[in-house]
Every structure is written in structure tokens, then in C-alpha cells.
């Protein structure tokens, strides 16, 4: 029988840190609309958080708790971005033309909504999917 691994500190810290990393990545994602940040960086930090979870727990446990097929996630992300680009074409504008406007929303008050955010969501999905796919397929490699 294998001895019980001594990783209580690692697990506890990871659980705390993962929450902070995910929150920070969402903050980076939103900041990207006007300031440094955006879908790419937000996606990468999210991927970093997931990789930290993979490292400190085992792959099976994370897969059962986060049942996501990252290859499909990457494909879906690029599809969202391309579809956002095509949105402009419906209104007779160029491909990738973006639109934004100010709306009065019930809780948030006056808010700026932009199609570029949807594009960024696609980018974030693509980045998370690709990064995790690469890292897990390297880790599965047995020499």
C-alpha cells in the first residue's frame, strides 16, 4: 500500500490560490476592454489556475469536477470569434466590424455593451482550451 501523501498544505493553499487566480483572470478579462488585459491574458491566467489544480490534485479528480473537453472548448472559442466577426456582415459592414452602445441596465446603471467583448470571450475560450490541451497531452506522454 502506498503511503498517504503528505500534501495538506499544498491542497489548502491551492484551494485558496485558485479562487484568487480565477477572480484575477476575470478582472483581467474585463479590464481588457479599455486597459491592459483582455481575452488572451485572461484566458492564459485561467489556464494557469487550472494547471495549478491539476498539479496539486490528480488529473482524474479535476476531470470529474470540471468535465470539460478542452479540444472542443478551443474549437468553440474560435467559432465564437469568427461568428462575432460575421455579425458585422449581416448589417452590411465589413467582416470583423464591431459595434458598441450605451444601455440603461437595471442593476448596473448606464453600461457600455460592445460586440468586441463577445470576440474576446471566444479568444479566452480558445486560449484556455489550447493551453490545457497542450499541457495535458505533454503530461500524458510516457517515455
Amino acid at each position: 500500500m502506498k503511503p498517504e501523501p503528505n500534501d495538506v498544505i499544498l491542497h489548502t493553499v491551492t484551494k485558496l490560490a485558485a479562487v484568487i487566480i480565477f477572480t484575477f483572470s476575470i478582472d483581467l478579462f474585463w479590464a481588457g476592454h479599455h486597459f491592459p488585459g483582455g481575452g488572451f491574458i485572461g484566458g492564459l491566467t485561467t489556464a494557469a489556475g487550472i494547471v495549478l489544480l491539476y498539479l496539486s490534485f490528480d488529473i482524474e479528480r479535476i476531470q470529474t469536477n470540471l468535465p470539460v473537453d478542452y479540444k472542443k472548448m478551443a474549437a468553440l472559442g474560435v467559432l465564437i470569434s469568427v461568428a462575432t466577426g460575421m455579425g458585422g456582415m449581416i448589417y452590411g459592414d465589413n467582416f470583423l466590424e464591431q459595434a458598441f452602445g450605451y444601455f440603461d441596465l437595471p442593476v448596473f446603471g448606464e453600461t457600455e455593451l460592445a460586440t468586441a467583448v463577445l470576440f474576446d470571450v471566444g479568444v479566452a475560450f480558445a486560449v484556455i482550451g489550447t493551453a490545457i490541451t497542450i499541457i495535458t497531452s505533454i503530461s500524458e506522454d510516457e517515455l
Binding site: 472542443k72 478551443a74 474549437a75 467559432l79 458585422g88 459592414d93 465589413n94 467582416f95 466590424e97 464591431q98
Partner: protein, 496 residues
């Protein structure tokens, strides 16, 4: 602004992404791939007609005007190549239904195939130097996966070589872009052209031009082709047909574009250099094609000869030379796909690539044999088949430019091609029939259709050139007058 231009680039991308979401549904993937490629062919014909009535079409992505935005530019040359690409890919994808195997189909064969087409079409249509690099990478990454898909030992070995040489040349590509940007301060091809025309092409820019020539030369299989015969004969026939028909041609297209639009001021240096490279390529490729007894090796060396010959017309830099180059480029894409598919069938039937171990296939497969014969004649340039016009105009172009040696080498290598393909015909198809139909390792069922389609195309290209002649002439006009391209990109905007 013409939104039709984006479809040849994003349609295969969207289809490929959808396939990743439904990896198990092979039938859907097969049907949709065929449909997508046919639709792209239709769209490119539409755009070609728009170009011939309204001039070069452009699309500035996101509405940002040139030179600040990144745009797609469809001139006649690009669209002819996009059309040929989709036809060739159409035939290759039908061919792969029967030959590629369940395993590869399950591991994202069709998505990778379509991503490759995205990259190829994007490279043909982009009007931005950096995006040319990006689309090159798209098609290269797809080709890395396609060449290694299946994981046989020889595939992995050749993939290593292929990846290393291409990463190296991509790095040089980036260095070249950086130099050019530091000199001109722009990445828009038309804008670079304007800036260089204003400032004059000095020694530094000519050096950068040579750097670009080396980069694209590696991709095109020009002179520095030592990796090519191994890499292109490793993957299955459908993939190697696609590679030899399309990938080297993207490099050739890039050379044609850069050296007619941007670096056209010092032809006595740059274009002579292209001519010397083309001559060396043809001679070495010819020697390779004659020397080997391996059918795949002979065919891949023919790819190299073709690359050399197309660039001989560009080296001449005359109207007939360019006309010949475009004709031969279109012909070469079709014919290389054709002979690789036939070669693939021969290998499937006999189970070997060694010509000495096969014989007399024509008794059981007369259609295949005679189609190979037609393809060989077309490859050599016998009238009235597809290769004839290209050969005539390229040779005339080189003579007009005074490069008699280049034209003669081109004709001489035709004899080498004749010898090499006749060697295949005499050994594989002619002679005593050693394999009865029962002993054959594969069948020709379901693979004859794409081969017949390509054979018909090469005959049609020879018999009825007037159908595409008007288009090709517009393409040549565009190549010889870069100003039309520049005017189309900037429209009425002021050039900063």
C-alpha cells in the same frame, strides 16, 4: 469593400471547427468537406468575374482603411490560384475517402485538411506582409499534423526534418519582415511598394529581398530542397498529393507577389538570382528524377523541377514570361495532384514503391494506365495538353529577356522529366503482368473518379485555353503594373 472575399478563408475554418465539435460523425465530415470546397470554387469564380468587370477587389477587415487596417486583396492571380486550390483539394478529399483509413479520419484528418486550405487561401489573398506570415503558419501547423498523422516511423522521422527546416525558414521570414518594417515603417504590401518606389531600392533593401527569396525558396522547394523528397513521400497519397500541389505553390506565389509588387526595381540583381536558383533547381531536380527507382521519389523530384520552371518565367520578368508562369503554375497544381494520386494508387495496388518490383498493371487497370500516360505527356508539355502553353510562354519569355541558358535548361529538363515518367510507365504499367487481380494489395474502387476529373481538367486546359485566357491576361497585366494593385488597395484614400 467586398465581403465575398472573406469566405474562401473562413468557410473551411468554420467547417473544420465544427468537425472538432463532432469528431465521431465521419459521414458529416466527408460530405461537408466536399460541399465547402465546391462552394469555395463557386465563390472564387464569382469573384473572378467581378474582378474582370470592376478591377481588383479588396476587403478592409473591421472597416479600418489601408494602410492602417489589415486587408484582403483579391487580384486575378490570387483568385485563379484559390480556384485551382479548391478544385485540387476537392479531388484529394474524395480520394482520401477510400484510402486514408478509419484511424486517421477519427483523429481529425478532415479538420486538419480544411485548416490547411484556410492557410493556403489566406496566403493567396492577404494584402499584408505580416498576415502572409500568419497564414503561412496556419498552413504549416496543419501540415505538421497531417504529415505525422498515423505515426509511422518514417513519418515521424520526416516530420522532424520538415518541422525544423520550416521553423528555421519562418524565423528568417520574421527577421526579413522586421528589416523591411524598420526601413519602410509599414507592413501593408501595397504601402511597402509605394515607400520603396519613393525611396529607391538601395543595396540594403535588395539584400532584404534576397533574404525573402531564400525564405520563400525554402518553402517552394527551390534549390534548398533537400528536405522535400523525403517529407513529401512519407505521408499517404492523398496528403502528399495535396502537399505537392499546394504547399510549394504558396511559396512560389509569395515569390511572384513580392518580386512583382515590391522588389521590382533591380531585376538585374534579384531576378537574375531567381533565374540562377531556378536553373540549378531544374538541373538538380532532373538528376534526382532520373536517378531513383522509387516511384514516390521520382514524383517528388518532379515537384522540384516544376517549381524551378515556374520561377524561370518570373526571372525573365517579361509579359510572356509571366503569362507562361501563371499558366504553368495552374497546370502544375493540377498535374502534380494527378500524378501523385495515380502514384498512390500504384503503390496501393502493388504494395511497394520500388519500380523494379512492379510490372504490367495496365492489363488489369487500363484506365489508370492510360490516364497516367496522358498525365505524363501533359507534364512534359506535349500539345494539346495542359503543360504545353506554359512551357511555350516561359521559354519565349526567357529568350526575350536574353536568358537563353535558362530557356535551354528548361527544355533540357523536359527531356529529363520525359525519361523519369516514361520509366514509371514502362516499369509499372507496361510489361509482363505479374499481379493478378486477386493478388493485388488494394483496389481502384472509388479512387478513379478524382483521378479522371483531374485528367479531364488537364486536357481541357490544353484544348480550351481561351476559356481562362482572358482571366490569365488580366492577372499578367496586374503583375506587370503594380500600380493597379496599389490603386485598388488605397482606393480614393490619401497614401500617407
Amino acid at each position: 469593400m467586398n465581403n465575398l472575399l472573406i469566405w474562401p478563408v473562413i468557410l473551411p475554418l468554420i467547417a473544420g471547427l465544427l468537425f472538432i465539435l463532432v469528431p465521431k460523425n465521419i459521414r458529416l465530415q466527408r460530405t461537408l468537406s466536399v460541399v465547402v470546397l465546391a462552394v469555395i470554387a463557386g465563390i472564387s469564380i464569382t469573384i473572378m468575374n467581378q474582378i474582370s468587370t470592376n478591377g481588383i477587389q479588396t476587403l478592409q477587415l473591421g472597416g479600418w482603411q489601408a494602410p492602417y487596417g489589415i486587408g484582403l486583396v483579391a487580384d486575378m492571380l490570387s483568385m485563379l490560384l484559390v480556384l485551382t486550390t479548391s478544385i485540387v483539394a476537392f479531388c484529394c478529399v474524395i480520394f482520401s475517402f477510400r484510402t486514408i483509413g478509419k484511424e486517421r479520419e477519427k483523429y481529425y484528418y478532415y479538420p486538419l485538411f480544411l485548416f490547411l486550405i484556410t492557410g493556403v487561401n489566406g496566403s493567396f489573398m492577404t494584402g499584408d506582409l505580416f498576415n502572409l506570415y500568419v497564414f503561412f503558419e496556419v498552413l504549416l501547423v496543419a501540415s505538421y499534423a497531417l504529415i505525422s498523422l498515423g505515426g509511422k516511423k518514417v513519418q515521424l522521422r520526416e516530420t522532424m526534418k520538415y518541422v525544423i527546416i520550416n521553423i528555421l525558414s519562418s524565423a528568417f521570414f520574421l527577421v526579413g519582415i522586421a528589416y523591411l518594417y524598420s526601413v519602410t515603417g509599414t507592413l501593408n504590401l501595397a504601402h511597402i511598394s509605394v515607400r520603396i518606389a519613393e525611396a529607391g531600392q538601395d543595396g540594403f533593401i535588395t539584400t532584404v529581398a534576397i533574404l525573402f527569396l531564400i525564405v520563400f525558396g525554402i518553402k517552394a522547394g527551390l534549390f534548398l530542397f533537400y528536405w522535400l523528397p523525403g517529407s513529401y513521400s512519407a505521408p499517404p497519397a492523398a496528403v502528399s498529393a495535396l502537399f505537392s500541389a499546394l504547399l510549394t505553390k504558396v511559396g512560389i506565389y509569395a515569390i511572384i507577389r513580392m518580386f512583382t509588387l515590391v522588389f521590382y526595381h533591380e531585376p538585374q540583381i534579384t531576378h537574375l538570382f531567381i533565374g540562377i536558383l531556378a536553373a540549378l533547381t531544374m538541373i538538380l531536380g532532373g538528376i534526382g528524377a532520373i536517378a531513383y527507382w522509387d516511384i514516390n521519389k521520382i514524383l517528388t523530384y518532379n515537384v522540384i523541377i516544376g517549381a524551378g520552371f515556374i520561377l524561370a518565367g518570373i526571372a525573365a520578368f517579361t509579359t510572356s514570361g509571366a503569362l507562361g508562369s501563371i499558366y504553368y503554375l495552374i497546370h502544375d497544381m493540377i498535374i502534380k495532384a494527378l500524378i501523385f494520386l495515380i502514384g498512390g494508387v500504384v503503390v496501393y495496388l502493388t504494395g511497394t514503391t520500388n519500380l523494379k518490383e512492379m510490372s504490367g498493371l495496365i492489363r488489369n487497370h487500363p484506365y489508370l494506365g492510360w490516364m497516367f500516360f496522358i498525365a505524363s505527356l501533359s507534364l512534359i508539355g506535349i500539345p494539346p495538353l495542359g503543360g504545353f502553353l506554359g512551357k511555350v510562354f516561359v521559354t519565349r519569355g526567357t529568350f526575350e529577356a536574353g536568358y537563353f541558358w535558362l530557356g535551354l535548361i528548361g527544355l533540357l529538363t523536359s527531356l529529363m522529366i520525359l525519361y523519369s515518367v516514361m520509366k514509371i510507365f514502362m516499369n509499372a504499367f507496361w510489361g509482363e503482368t505479374v499481379l493478378s487481380e486477386e493478388e493485388e494489395k488494394g483496389t481502384t474502387k472509388g479512387v478513379i473518379l478524382p483521378i479522371a476529373l483531374l485528367t479531364l481538367l488537364t486536357i481541357a486546359l490544353g484544348l480550351g485555353p481561351e476559356f481562362i485566357n482572358s482571366y490569365v491576361e488580366i492577372a499578367v497585366e496586374g503583375l506587370m503594373n503594380p500600380q493597379t494593385y496599389i490603386d485598388a488597395v488605397f482606393a480614393e484614400n490619401e497614401i500617407p
